[in-house]
């Protein structure tokens, strides 16, 4: 289990991933933004610990390279973390979006999604 953070280079790439993976966490960042750099290694660690192919993937979107995605999802500040279930935006622990490098909130949300993804995989494996 576990995996690397996937970089979405276009809206199409994200759409494709959303149709093949049940739960997706997305990190919207910019190269010039210090808080983004600060939280990046921790985000990568979450991906390594919690990713499950087809069930949970962690992605990154560079707002300067893919502005269309930033606009589509109402991103105003970086980093912003948003969540998808079955291709649709969902709230995790009450938030549709985590704004800023809030490690506590991000970890709680990622752990929650990790738990949900694992449960789904187990259920599928048992069929």
């Amino acid at each position: 289990m576990g995996g690397a953070v996937q970089h979405m280079g276009s809206p199409g790439e994200l759409t494709k991933l959303l149709s093949s993976t049940q739960y997706v966490v997305a990190d919207f960042y910019a190269d010039w933004c210090p808080p983004c750099k600060a939280i990046a290694p921790k985000y990568a660690e979450l991906a390594e610990q919690l990713s499950i192919p087809e069930y949970l993937t962690f992605v990154k979107v560079n707002v300067d390279k893919v502005p269309a995605l930033a606009q589509e999802h109402g991103i105003n500040a970086m980093p912003s973390f948003i969540f998808f279930k079955d291709g649709k935006r969902v709230k995790v622990n009450g938030s549709l979006k985590i704004e800023g490098a809030d490690w506590a909130k991000l970890k709680a949300a990622a752990d929650k999604m990790g738990g949900l993804a694992e449960t789904k995989k187990e259920a599928a494996d048992l069929k």
Partner: protein, 166 residues
Amino acid sequence: MPGLTVGEPFPEGVAFTYVAPTGELDLTACGLPIQYDASKEFASKRVVVVAVPGAFTPTCQVSHVTSYISNLDKLKAAGVDQIIFIASNDQWVMAAWGKANGIKDDSILFMSDPGAAFSKSIGWVQGDRTKRYALIVDHGKVTYADVDEVRGSIEKSGAEAVLAKL
């Protein structure tokens, strides 16, 4: 005659840039630079646009922006949807000016009129800087437009002047 004429529609194709305010998240988040389609946004709002020669410069700081900050409630009560300060400074300087004045939300947005392009188009510039002027645009129509030619005066473009015309 330079400036905008009251009663005329606000021009097409006007854009400003600004950095989205990050409120309390200043240390943990970076605001996204945004292209603001003024012509499009103003069509559906009641907006006050205040142009100042320079962020942090004496009159602009001491009297101009402060007059709007202290009259914020009255302006909102008078039906203003958005107050926008513009200057020829870039969006990062404008964002810093907003923060320096304690504005953490979108109550007053601080935007760049890049290269003073819009201000030049209406003939209200002095060199590379914008002149000191204020506009009220009500759902796409200019309902107030005046400029302070006297140095240091905000008689035409201060909050009181604008409130009187709302």
